[in-house]
């Protein structure tokens, strides 16, 4: 009994239970709409885990949303709701693309340059939100929503500009190959590489068929850094103090305005990093005209909340979400269930995550009953 209670009280337990409930309800939805849930989930898991390259693709898919989720989670822990991650991602991608196209240094310089430029752009975009909040008290959600759209049009403006527009496409020129952050980007397509790889099937599949890149490692590193920053550093202490009780923090001599701006700068930089890693790490290494949001930031929002805004949790939630997005297409391909069903399924899972608080409450009730029986 005690053990059950203890396990139930852990946040991870409730998240897992929520996800299972999400799947259960999704199964019902599938069944009601005439699709075999077993086969659907089979297709889903096969689409995620069926082949090494699928796993690789899931990880690649998870990379940007893990990073944007970190951005959202970080801001949330500091008391800000970063719904502007989408826009920060867009300007980050735009800037990384432009810098990666205009500059062409050796990779040791080029890669950091491109990645950092994306981060700086994202940071600036987030910083505007932070500044307006700190200086004028303007709600971050409002400015973020506006800035998302401004970012979208700004990015389109850049793509359409005569300097960056690649003729006969809807895209900008891609970044120079020296910016690539894939694993062995040149070698794997060289003759020697292909010759070597053809003898190693697994390696070949993963390396050649997918854009295996360093992005996810960067995401993991970022998650650890964010965790360290938040919970182990004095700066993070300050940030959290401001987030949790602005008045007390101010009274204790901590600058509120500075920390709000800083929070949004960091959050923006994380979203920008997500974009940089996508631009440098995956095809087509460029931005193109956006006719709608690509949801890199909005998905990050879902991921962050599935993770309960825990930085380390974002890694796993990112993988889960990436898996659902990528593997979900297999449900459509194999079972024929339209993509709407998959969106409903993902939405259902997220919805149940919202209900996670019920589990520890249940645990307390169990505990109470146990205690009174013992008495």
């Amino acid at each position: 009994m005690d053990r059950t209670v203890k396990i139930l009280k852990k946040p991870i337990t409730s998240t897992i239970i929520a996800i299972l409930c999400g799947f259960l309800v999704a199964a019902i939805v599938l069944a009601v709409t005439g699709y075999n849930p077993g086969a659907s989930f089979g297709a889903l898991f096969n689409g995620i885990l069926g082949r090494p390259k699928y796993i690789s693709n899931v990880i690649i898919k998870a990379t940007p949303i893990t990073l944007t989720a970190l951005s959202v989670a970080f801001a949330y822990k500091v008391g800000l709701f970063n719904i502007g991650s989408e826009g920060q991602y867009i300007v980050g991608a735009m800037t990384a693309n432009i810098v990666g196209y205009l500059c062409n240094f050796p990779p040791v310089i080029q890669i950091p340059l491109v990645v950092i430029s994306g981060m700086v752009a994202g940071a600036l975009w987030g910083g505007i939100v932070g500044f307006l909040k700190a200086k004028f008290g303007i709600h971050e959600v409002l400015t973020s929503i506006m800035l998302n759209w401004i970012a979208l049009y700004l990015s389109n403006l850049a793509v359409q500009s005569s300097v960056f527009h690649q003729p006969n496409t809807t895209a900008a020129y891609p970044v120079n190959p020296s910016s690539y952050t894939m694993l062995l980007p040149n070698w794997k397509t060289s003759d020697a590489g292909i010759a070597f790889l053809s003898q190693h099937k697994l390696l070949k599949e993963v390396l050649l068929k997918t854009d295996v890149n360093f992005g996810f490692l960067v995401a993991i590193a970022a998650a650890i850094l964010v965790w360290l920053l938040l919970y182990r550093s004095s700066r993070g202490y300050e940030l959290r103090a401001v987030g949790l009780n602005r008045d007390a923090a101010e009274f204790a001599g901590i600058s509120v305005t500075k920390n709000i701006v800083l929070t949004m700068l960091i959050a923006g930089a994380l979203s920008g990093l997500a974009a940089s890693m996508a631009i440098t790490g995956t095809n087509p290494h460029r931005i193109s005209i956006l006719s709608a949001f690509e949801n890199n930031g909005f998905n990050g929002l879902s991921v962050a909340f599935i993770a309960g805004s825990s930085p380390i949790g974002c890694i796993f939630a990112g993988l889960l979400f990436g898996g659902l997005l990528y593997g979900g297409q297999s449900i459509q391909a194999n079972i024929g269930a339209p993509s709407e069903i998959i969106n409903i399924m993902i939405g259902t899972i997220v919805f149940f995550v919202a209900l996670t608080k019920v589990v520890p409450a249940l645990a307390v009730r169990l505990e109470k009953r146990g205690m009174r029986n013992a008495k």
């Binding site: 008290g137 400015t143 401004i150 939405g347 919805f351």
Partner: protein
């Protein structure tokens, strides 16, 4: 001149009507202390149901009504999560935004033999001056009835919130639920009702898109309106009249950008498209400033915690 002014007014009102319903949906929910991030999803459901029922019944009014009911029914999910289960309202709203459009498209396929776009309704909601007008100014001002309904809804909501006992109770629940609770006001019931009304209004907003602005449901009929509505709620400081004004401002900025586009001003269209969003921020910084949410907004109410 008169032509231009009437054009700007007409476009402003046309553009803002669905947003106003969405924003009022946000106001009523958040005033009772439930953050509603799911307006977008609720609007999409309303947009579909409005168009579908309008098509099958042949009567746009029935469709409009049905959209309100459907929006409320969908909002019930949010209410259950936010009120009964004390869930994180933000995630619950996000979930609705994922489920809503999925559900609408899926139902659309079921009702319209696999298409994700409904058939056009035979008759749209009426216009205030009836059929097309010869006179350009009159035509520009021949507004959708939804424009009038949006105004009326705002006025009614204002009246209810500030002049009736229910309004007093709703506001108290959003500001200090424990206080309301000690006075025998059921926090949960109040919030349930407000969230359902919120869903209903969002549904009507969606339907005013698909039954007045256009005449059918399309997968992109609602694309971002819910979020702009959310911004308008904050912009308008959580008051019906403020949110209404914010939507008008936004609609006006859109009208202005269209107008400038028509006059061939030498500004890239991308920049013109940004105009409404930039203008909103500028107006906010210059004239509106700090807005403070209802104190208990977003906080689940649990008896005995403080």
């Amino acid at each position: 001149m008169l032509n231009n002014i009437s054009l700007l007014v007409g476009i402003t009102l046309m553009y803002s009507a669905p947003l106003i319903f969405g924003a009022l949906a946000g106001v009523i929910s958040e005033r009772s202390g439930v953050v509603n991030l799911g307006i977008e999803g609720m609007m999409t459901v309303g947009a579909f149901v409005g168009a579908a029922v309008g098509y099958f019944s042949g009567n746009a009014w029935i469709g409009f009504l049905a959209a309100g009911i459907a929006g409320a029914a969908f909002a019930l999910l949010h209410a259950i999560a936010a009120v009964t289960f004390k869930a994180d309202q933000t995630i619950s709203g996000i979930a609705l935004n994922l489920i809503g459009p999925g559900l609408a498209l899926f139902l659309c396929r079921l009702c319209f033999s696999g298409a994700t776009m409904s058939q056009p309704v035979p008759h749209k909601l009426p216009k205030i001056l009836g059929d097309a007008q010869e006179n350009t100014v009159a035509q520009n001002l021949n507004l959708d009835i939804t424009v009038v309904l949006a105004l009326a809804t705002m006025l009614i909501m204002w009246f209810v919130l500030y002049r009736t006992k229910w309004g007093l109770r709703i506001r108290s629940v959003g500001e200090h639920p424990a206080a309301a609770d000690t006075l025998g006001i059921s926090v949960d019931r109040t919030r349930y009702i407000c969230v359902l009304v919120s869903g209903m209004l969002a549904g009507l907003g969606g339907a005013s898109m698909t039954l007045a602005v256009i005449q059918q449901f399309t997968p992109t009929a609602i694309s971002g309106h819910g979020f702009i509505a959310l911004a308008a709620v904050i912009f308008g400081k959580w008051t019906p009249q403020g949110a209404y004004g914010a939507c008008l401002l936004f609609g006006f900025a859109e009208a202005l950008s269209v107008f400038l586009g028509l006059k061939n001003v030498p500004i890239p269209t991308e920049v013109l498209a940004m105009l409404p969003y930039i203008l909103s921020i500028v107006v906010l910084v210059l004239f509106v400033g700090r807005s403070v949410a209802p104190k208990a907004d977003g906080l689940p109410y649990e008896k005995g915690t403080r």
